[in-house]
Symmetry: C2
Subunit: 247 residues, 2 copies
């Protein structure tokens, strides 16, 4: 790309990446919300996704280390509050643990992250590193997958509640709380990117950052499918047959 | 683990990790050297493995940044010479490019790393980061997969030459050169680890480092299988049908 895009064109290009590469297009997502997942597949998804959830406040603190402006940090700090809460048992991570608990997992096992697929860990670590190593603009742009998350969360919530008797509105509370937070966060991040990506190079870097982030999400579902749908569980990862990690 | 192992016990424990988790046990390896891979599967393997090969001297330079001792650095420097050579066209990376060229790839395409599976890149980056972030002892221990590589390389070389008419001794030169280098490198690294891992914690850290490294290798073959054997190619990765990257 060599021409500078208007803000409208840049937003359209960012949304186009979502339309082509967001993980709502992945077969595992369709299988999950369509009710075709076995309970152990849902468990494996929730267990591995915990690794991602747990890294998000660390990622956001990493982004904040790049922000020289208190106002910007205050805005970004809300994300950490959303995930960590204000007291034990509050916040998005605690709500995720209610899901894994509802699915039968021992919480200490989930928190230990033993049994996580190595591919999950590598992808999550790559995301945190990206936010440490790249420009602040790219770090913020990489968060823009949240533009697309309210829809996927809506599909997941209704689909999973309709199809699986082993989840409930209580254990799915994460997904009830998340869409308004994601909408607020992504509106801020989008406005920031549209304002600060002024050169063609900066704009391309933002598009690449969002593409990178879609890869981070996609890789996790590829690994779940390969391990738990196709049955090629790699050495050391959670094995449903053993009852490992379950209460 | 709480007891301190003797050097012999530590070596046995390290070799046991190889016996249980090295990627010669992965179905893709068996498929590759057993002659069951389609040409495009071999191409995808060579293309993605280039990403790993190209990162090795960067990994080794990263390890050298941790070494205060010139003698140690001189020993480790040999690895970089082996991969980068002394002139254009020499060294392990150049020999790997002879393989991808022999398989029909445009070298500029391979070097660009467009088309690499995101899972490959995340795993390779995780390895380089590991060697930057962990102790020197752990970084050296993570190289010990080379203890097991002469055997896998032998299987690959003979199996691939016997089964595929699209590889030749010339394009497979990487594998002829590599075993004596790997044997020398891993003998040094093993002696270093056995000498310096003196506490139970250090020994466990070395075992964990080697386990981590086996994950780095295993994840790459899992991703190849999912994408190119099972046909779930993720967005942006090399698509054989398009002729992309081929001469």
């Amino acid at each position: 790309m060599s021409e500078i895009l208007s803000p409208e064109q840049l937003e359209a290009a960012l949304r186009d990446i979502g339309a082509r590469r967001y993980h709502n297009l992945h077969p595992f997502h369709r299988r999950l919300h369509g009710g075709q997942c076995a309970r152990d597949e849902v468990r494996a998804w929730a267990l591995n996704r915990y690794c991602y959830q747990a890294a998000i406040p660390i990622k956001d603190a990493t982004v904040m280390t790049r922000m020289p402006d208190a106002g910007l940090r205050r805005e970004w700090r809300r994300r950490i509050v959303d995930h960590d809460g204000n007291a034990p048992g509050e916040g998005g991570i605690a709500r995720w643990l209610r899901l894994t608990e509802g699915l039968g997992f021992d919480t200490a096992y989930v928190e230990s992250m033993r049994g996580i697929l190595p591919a999950t860990r590598f992808a999550v670590d790559a995301y945190v590193r990206f936010c440490a190593d790249r420009s602040l603009l790219e770090a913020i742009a990489s968060s823009l997958t949240e533009l697309f998350s309210p829809q996927i969360i809506g599909e997941r919530l209704s689909g999973m509640l309709a199809h699986y008797d082993f989840v409930s509105p209580e254990t799915m509370a994460y997904f009830t709380m998340r869409p308004p937070q994601a909408a607020q966060d992504s509106a801020f991040a989008l406005a920031y990117v549209l304002e600060h990506a002024r050169t063609a190079e900066q704009q391309q870097a933002c598009l690449d950052a969002l593409t990178f982030k879609t890869n981070v999400l996609w890789v996790q579902l590829d690994a779940l499918w390969h391990a738990y749908v196709d049955g090629h569980i790699p050495p050391g990862a959670w094995r449903p047959q053993t009852g490992e990690g379950l209460r």
